[in-house]
Symmetry: C2
Amino acid sequence: MKLQVSLRQRATPYTSRVEALGVSGFSVVNHTILPKAYARTVEEDYWHLKSRVQLWDVGCQRQVELRGADAARLAQLMTPRDLRRAQVGQCLYAPMIDEHAAMLNDPIILKLAEDHFWFSISDADMLLWAKGLAFGMDLDVTVEEPDVWPLAVQGPKADDLVARVFGEQVRGINFFCFKKCEFEGHELLVARSGFSKQGGFEIYVDAFALGGEVWDALWQAGDGLGLSPGCPNLIERIEGGLLSYGNEMTRENNPLECGLEKYCQLDGSLEFIGKAALIEVAKNGHKREIRGLIFDGDPCPACQYRWPLSIDNRQVGYVTSAIWSPRFEKNIALAMLDREYWDHGTRVAVATVDGHQRDGFVSNLPMEVQ
Amino acid sequence: MKLQVSLRQRATPYTSRVEALGVSGFSVVNHTILPKAYARTVEEDYWHLKSRVQLWDVGCQRQVELRGADAARLAQLMTPRDLRRAQVGQCLYAPMIDEHAAMLNDPIILKLAEDHFWFSISDADMLLWAKGLAFGMDLDVTVEEPDVWPLAVQGPKADDLVARVFGEQVRGINFFCFKKCEFEGHELLVARSGFSKQGGFEIYVDAFALGGEVWDALWQAGDGLGLSPGCPNLIERIEGGLLSYGNEMTRENNPLECGLEKYCQLDGSLEFIGKAALIEVAKNGHKREIRGLIFDGDPCPACQYRWPLSIDNRQVGYVTSAIWSPRFEKNIALAMLDREYWDHGTRVAVATVDGHQRDGFVSNLPMEVQ
């Protein structure tokens, strides 16, 4: 299916580069195009990502910038994760919820200064939520989308590649921390993070006009590392249990259903929006939770509708993302399972859209080859 | 370029129908897929839309529902348009702005009751803005995205088609008004509105499960009317001067720049967010405004970047949307022009992405064949 081009689906500083490299498919995230396919199959890309290094245009990971005297207060109001001991230079994965404890987003929060934060968001206009709160509560904070265009380097050779461009110091950056690194006279924020389990960095290029140059420098430094363009890989993401807002999580879910309990500080005096609702959920026990799923049959189609999971014709959950895994030699999926049926090994029937019921079983996340 | 399928880019109740009818391209609006191409060319669709009738899957026009004692207050806070005399049964096109008078959206507001509104939104999560304001200001209002999936019938034969399914009463619905009409035991809201200048209706199907049935009923009633599936047509939209949020308008613009002055009530006691900022803009005179543009050369490519407009090598504006018009036998565009250069007939050079400068001139909107 063709994606129609317009200004509204924003290009990134890297779009001309990925086009030159043969990008063949896009998704749309935060009103911005995300390359999702090149010449190789998802399976070929999977093996490549696990063994070499890839350059990803993730300019769609837009930033919501909070700055000012009330920035820390607003940041904390928006997440159940305790930010009080967060350090400047730290990245924090943080569920964001509303007053009903409904999931609104799951950004990485970058603490740039005591009064300065970036929320690197998944697919929803958190800018508008933050702006609405700031205006409504009359907070002393500016909320903007800055001119920042993340670029990801992912895979086991990522350290080698990024060190060639930003210097050996990048090897010392700890997981989910960032440092400012010099590039052609600019200080760029380089974080050890990314939407894969293969290691790597996200580079927060803070000027559209600089993007092409950073891409080119990394691209040209790839000799001998097997560098290729790439993108978040659905096989690797499902095996690794990485969740995608809008797929696995929506406003229908609370963070406990999304397995994000460890990011929810329900005890003590921490104040955040949705605390009472989330305590209520925790008290009653959440009714369903995301799990892995492994199921039989031919390679399944893309999951565009929630595929029902059932036991004895009674629905017990639904699939949110699915694909064939060459490593498991089975189809794998992420799925929302009712509490009574979420244990590893529970057998369920999967109703994919292509007509036949398939046998499957529930798996813990991340998935492990048996 | 391929669009990758996932749950995150939501299907509508009509997706299976448009697939069966050969849809070949989509856009993404409000995290929902919008059919944008079928077998025919945009030009063939243009002539068809102007002479017959089309059924459009516009389920992506998501609704933000405000309900409760403070619903009317919140609705008014979000727009400079005076809603005080709005009637139940009325649709109101309304710019939405923030405290800096920046355009956030341009929904159609449907007044369902004194304490009940739907905002039928363009591409931005206004739900989050409304929720943030409601929470921050502690308003007595619920803000939800209801299970409503608009379906548009557009073209000069729209009255005939819709009357066959919903009864002759639909012919009496005034422009930008709605009535509840019976369909198989359900009361559906039918409005005389739509994203074309060819006349027609938008049907607010208020249950996903009912959507297929409504589509089928309309589809089967099309005998002799030349009914076909369709979608917003870029040629017709540009000629008619219909603006698209994210293309012509972004947060960089205020409503005066978008030519929406008549929807801004700056005098008197009306209270809305951004009033002071908008009065300031009006006092100083806005510096640029959207205009039409007609320009030479071969049919232009799709506008994915803002194409600069210049006079004597000085930039005086940029193109936001462009396409070849068979009626003008020229390329036509919507463009943002600096004040000194926005008069009809002003000659400018257009730098499209395909390399050569083209001669063009500014046109009033809607465009008229000379």
